[in-house]
Each structure stands twice: as structure tokens, then as C-alpha cells.
């Protein structure tokens, strides 16, 4: 086993690959390994395992982000290591060349925008009380009751259902605003409390402003009840799937 291995950050077109001044994992210089029209961004790491420390994760992200400033890049997941240049070329770049090139072409000029939207707890709960008479009634009945009032559970169920219904409605409205400006999206499906949306949108660079404006309009319409955050433009981390091969 060789003493060092090659850690791989991402793939770019050979034509746009530039040597990066910055450092990768463990402060090692970032190099490129070329194969045909492809270039892999790599740096040397000690053979063995890679630790996922905060600075390592940030280094991976930064190398990909820097490459993205120069052109299209396919970000790799954290922690992918090859034995050496030859393994990288023979096991990955060459056998996957066609697919990688077509992904690069497909993602050319496109960026990932990450959107999160959350309710303000007090605002949405107040809406539920004000606009659902059954909730208001049960709240009144249970509010000053000593100990656990038997109707508390029913109240909680009603509130949960009301919040869920509002979440569905507002999330749909948000998607409707954004969809015209995005090519596709990937949403995280975990149901997080008071979260409407946590998703990545693939957007053409020239449409980023329109996307931003549409999201901003939604945020303005829902000021005081929904907090909306936009992160990006990012490299297309969420849109780089390869076909699985045995």
C-alpha cells in the first residue's frame, strides 16, 4: 500500500481546469489529474482513512466552490479516495467519461440555489387560534384548568392538523412561485417542526435574479409569519447523480 492516496474533490472539463492557489485537506496543494477532456481536482492525503473534521469538510467545500468560480464542476461527495493517479483514471475517469462529460454539458451555466422556509412558531400558532374556532374554544376551556385537562390532547391534535394544513398550502404556494424559474429541484423530505421547505433548485445562471425576486416576493407577502433564506449560487451538489454500476 502506497504511503499517500489521492483525495478527489470534483470533476471539471479539462479546458476550464486551473491550478488552484488554495489548499485542500490537511493543507495539501490541490492538483489536477487529466484524462481526455476531463480533469479531476485532487490532493494528496495519507493512505488510510480520511477524518471528517470541521476544517476538512470546509476544505472540501471550498475547493469545489473555487473551481465553480472558474467553470462548471461536478462536486464529489466527501471522502472519496483513490490509490493513485492511475486508479483515478482507470477506475473512474475513463470508464465514466461519456457520462461525466454529458453531466458537465447538462450543468453548464447552471447553479444550485438552496432555499429554506420556516414558520415563526408564535405567528402560525396564533393564526391557528384565530382562524379555527374549535381550537379557540378548546384553548379557552383548557387554558386555566388545573392539572392536565382531558381535552388537551384533542387540542394538540387539532393544532397539529391545522399547522400541517397550513404548511401544505403555503409550501404549495411557494413552489408555484419558484417552479417557473427552476429547471428542477430536490427537496429534503424529513418533516421538521415548523419547516415549510428545505430544498435545492437547479437554476440557469441568467435566471438567478428572477428566482431571487420570486422568492423575495413570497418572503415579503409572508413577512412576520415565515422566514425565508436563500443560499447560493452554489456548485450543483444536489444534481450530480451517476447511474449505479456493479
Amino acid at each position: 500500500m502506497p504511503a499517500t492516496a489521492l483525495y478527489c474533490y470534483g470533476i471539471t472539463a479539462a479546458a476550464t481546469a486551473k491550478l488552484q492557489p488554495g489548499a485542500g485537506l490537511g493543507g495539501a496543494a490541490v492538483e489536477t489529474v487529466r484524462s481526455g477532456d476531463l480533469a479531476a481536482l485532487v490532493s494528496r492525503v495519507p493512505a488510510g482513512t480520511v477524518r471528517a473534521r470541521r476544517r476538512d469538510l470546509m476544505a472540501h467545500f471550498d475547493v469545489v466552490a473555487k473551481a465553480f468560480e472558474a467553470g462548471t464542476v461536478l462536486p464529489l461527495r466527501f471522502g472519496i479516495v483513490f490509490d493513485d493517479e492511475r486508479a483515478l483514471v482507470d477506475e473512474f475517469l475513463r470508464p465514466r467519461q461519456t457520462e461525466l462529460l454529458s453531466l458537465l454539458k447538462e450543468l453548464d451555466g447552471k447553479v444550485e440555489l438552496r432555499v429554506t422556509a420556516h414558520y415563526r412558531e408564535d405567528a402560525i400558532l396564533a393564526e391557528a387560534v384565530r382562524e379555527n374556532p374549535r381550537i379557540a374554544r378548546l384553548r379557552e376551556a383548557t387554558q386555566n384548568a388545573p392539572g392536565g385537562h382531558p381535552a388537551l390532547l384533542e387540542l394538540g391534535e387539532l393544532v397539529a392538523a391545522e399547522v400541517q394544513a397550513r404548511t401544505a398550502r403555503d409550501t404549495r404556494a411557494l413552489y408555484e412561485r419558484l417552479r417557473p424559474h427552476a429547471i428542477r429541484f430536490e427537496a429534503d423530505e424529513e418533516p421538521i417542526a415548523y419547516q415549510l421547505l428545505r430544498a435545492s433548485f437547479l437554476v440557469e445562471r441568467k435566471r438567478v435574479e428572477k428566482f431571487d425576486a420570486a422568492l423575495d416576493a413570497f418572503a415579503a407577502d409572508n413577512a412576520g409569519r415565515i422566514d425565508v433564506k436563500l443560499v447560493g449560487p452554489l456548485p450543483p451538489h444536489s444534481f450530480v447523480e451517476l447511474e449505479r454500476r456493479r
Partner: protein
Amino acid sequence: MAIATQGTASNYLQRAPSPSGLADVVELILDKGLVIDAYIRIAVIGIELITIDARIVIASVDTYLRFAEQVNRLDLTQTEAAGLAELRDGGNGGGDKAKGVFEGMKEKVSGD
């Protein structure tokens, strides 16, 4: 591309060119990104130490009771006043409340 500086931008939307916290970076580079065929090793240690413990909603008695409690504690006159102040000052109070949503979120990463 600095989208935060465009002329029409309002204060309602929070914008950031890149993820601000480790949790957001982790989401992008541990859960997403190209994965290669199984025979190429993904050689990472320490990942199991990274836990993102957001509050996942599960339909349960506990969840319902928590909702009931929250609603009963709610000061409706307060939320109304806050909503109006919000509209008046152009939505600048966004930051603090948004943090409340994440209070159950923990980050743990080995070493540093």
C-alpha cells in the same frame, strides 16, 4: 455573482452566497455529490459523530401535548403587536425568531 446587492432586493429574504454553518455544509457534501461505484472506497471516519438533530415531527401524544401547551401559553395580544411592528419596520426582525426554529439542532464533529 453577488445577488445580495441587486437593486430590487428587500430585507424580507435572508441571503447568503454560501452556507454559514457547518450543518449546512455537511448537508451538501455528505448527503449529496457524486458517489462512485462501490468498489472505490469511501474512506471516512468520524462521520458517525456528526449528528444533526433537528426536531423531526412525529405524530405522537407527546407532540400533541406540546402543541397544546404552546398554544395555551401563547399571548395573542403579543403576537398581534409583533406582527404589526414587523409590517411597519419592513421585516427586519427576521433573524432572531428564525434561530428559535433551530434551537433543537446540534452539531457535533470530531476534533477540529
